[in-house]
Amino acid sequence: MTSIQAEEEIVKTMEDKRKKEQSLFRKLIKNRLAAFGLIVIFLLIITAIFAPLIATHNPNTMDVTKALLGVGEQGYLLGTDNFGRDIFSRIVYGSRISLIVGIAAVLFGAVIGSLLGVVAGYFGGKLDSVIMRFMDGLFAFPFILLAITLMTVLGQGLINVIIAIGIANVPGFARVVRGQVLGVKESEFIEVTRSLGAKHRRIIFQHVLPNSLAPIIVYATMSVAGAIISEAALSFLGLGVQPPTASWGSILKDGKDFLVLNPNMATFSGLSILITVLSINLFGDGLRDALDPKMKV
């Protein structure tokens, strides 16, 4: 039949067109800043994984005789801190803490926040009001105070840092996801699925969530940067990971007392935070542009 042939033709031309269109990754790479961000993030992950191979010294070995050395002195790439520990190695190991806390805390916040957001947005009504007012309350609570309270209750430690920062991330995700779900919920295909007799669980997990994913991913990426800063801030206040474990925030904190004598400690740990956060944000921006529905996903 000719009509079948014609249909086939349309599908073929559509396919040709698809091939011409660029994949998400291509679009990302084309954006130079995003590509830069991606490369830095990649290097950072490599550094964290292979920290023992990259570090030139044991990050926790103290040698007071070699305290506060300058850049490059006696084979210490970035000098030493007040206890004579190699700053370069401490920063390399610190990247582990930053990445673990950044990713784990955001995951924690994303899972709980998204669930709450989906439920609030999808079912609406009283449930929505209760959940979102609670989130508003959480938002209004000063983060540092929240963290201090939690640390006091739970005690210090990596896991507790993750939980504290994770909880602080929950309301943000809940809001983003709820807003997204409110939009997707009104789509005709959701009504279609309801008319087929599907249960809520199926509609939420098969249709609503997958279609809300793009902004969640972008928000999560940006949140990792925020979580890394939060971790540094907590460590700076002495609420973070226990010493002597190296973390960028704690190196910065130690460095602030020796800012005049030896600015290397504060400078290099601060620079690490700066470059990491900047790269993640650049990457996140690029990701958002690439995922923008107006530019075709």
């Binding site: 789509s187 007799g197 599907a198």
Partner: protein, 344 residues
């Protein structure tokens, strides 16, 4: 005619408006559908026409229980769907399916065509993976696409093809009744004709019953056996397509028909141009909702709402003019009268 497969009685939906004062229930409500009753017979197509805001889409969603009605009953094969428990309703959903207007918005962009068409089967736990795959292939071929297309995503198809996919999905459960909510109004003319032909063919092949909702009077005339004309939540006239198009007894239907654009540059059309547009359903006019725009409005129309009166041949109309001895509407020529004149 055979037994009615679907009996709708006094179907009503009032949407309550949010009150401007918080925590206080508003007493304002929109009477989106207001006491609608009709029967649909096995194998026929019932057309529902009306302008935007007349409640035709809400009515469709009330019939298949996507929205719970405020009042009234919907009997499918003798069982009332209203107030039916959830599980039983899920079973009944199989027999009544829906095709929506927008071929772009009605397909989840993140699922393949195969997954979309198989979804009703998965929901109702019919068959296993292989049998579903077979069924999807078969359905795609039924609607004029290739079975090999099942792995593709909706955006790889044109508007007309997507509407075919929607139809395939609606057919998956072998339904008795399909409600088509403006299925062709988003399509181009040439593609529209393809989809209408397909719907007609499927009706014959599978003995389907359609409720066909549209604002396009020509499409409705072509598709439907019987037609219901809605205005502000009420059916104002109902009858076979011949009766409605050739011998309408309601001034609103007459006006609707006369506003169909010309068929050719030579045609001279006597138009009843209505003033204004459909009033807000929040505060509908008193009495007959149409009286403010009706060129024949009388005093009684402002006070009393007319009832649907049987005028013969299964043709019902609700207009106070029908109670008059010399109905001014009868003076206006209709197709039927023209033909009668020709015969004499």
């Amino acid at each position: 005619m055979t037994e009615a497969i679907l009996k709708v009685r006094n179907l009503t939906k009032h949407f309550h408006l949010d009150s401007p004062i918080p925590f206080k229930k508003s007493d304002q409500s929109v009477k989106a559908v207001d006491g609608v009753s009709f029967d649909v017979f096995q194998g026929e197509t019932l057309g529902v026409v009306g302008e935007s805001g007349c409640g035709k889409s809400t009515m469709a969603r009330l019939v298949n229980q996507l929205i719970a009605p405020t009042k009234g009953t919907v009997e499918l094969n003798g069982e009332n769907l209203v107030d039916m428990n959830k599980e039983r309703l899920r079973v009944f959903r199989k027999t009544i399916q829906m095709v929506f207007q927008d071929p772009f918005a009605s397909l989840d962009p993140r699922k393949t065509v195969g997954e979309l068409i198989a979804e009703p089967l998965v929901i109702h736990k019919i068959g296993n993976k292989t049998s579903r795959k077979e069924r999807v292939k078969e359905l795609l071929e039924v609607v004029g696409l290739r079975g090999s297309h099942s792995g593709r995503y909706p955006h790889e198809f044109s508007g007309g093809q997507r509407q075919r996919i929607n139809i395939a999905r609606a057919l998956a459960l072998n339904p008795d009744v399909i409600i088509c909510d403006e299925p062709v109004s988003a399509l181009d003319v040439s593609v529209q004709a393809q989809v209408i032909n397909l719907l007609k063919k499927l009706q014959k092949d599978f003995n389907l019953t359609y409720i066909f909702i549209s604002h396009d009077l020509n499409v409705v005339r072509y598709m439907c056996d019987r037609i219901a004309v809605m205005y502000l939540g009420k059916i104002v006239e109902m009858g076979t397509y011949k009766e409605i198009y050739e011998d309408s007894k309601h001034p609103y239907t007459r006006a609707l028909l006369s506003s169909i654009p010309k068929e050719s540059p030579n045609e001279v059309k006597e138009r009843i141009i209505l003033s204004g547009s459909v009033p807000s359903p929040i505060n509908p006019p008193s009495g007959c909702h149409f009286h403010e725009r009706c060129p024949f409005a009388m005093e009684i129309c402002k006070i009393k709402s007319p009832k649907l009166i049987d005028v013969g041949n299964g043709h019902q109309s609700s207009c106070h003019l029908l109670e008059l001895e010399n109905n001014p509407l009868e003076a206006i020529p209709t197709k039927k009268k023209e033909e009668e004149l020709k015969c004499h």
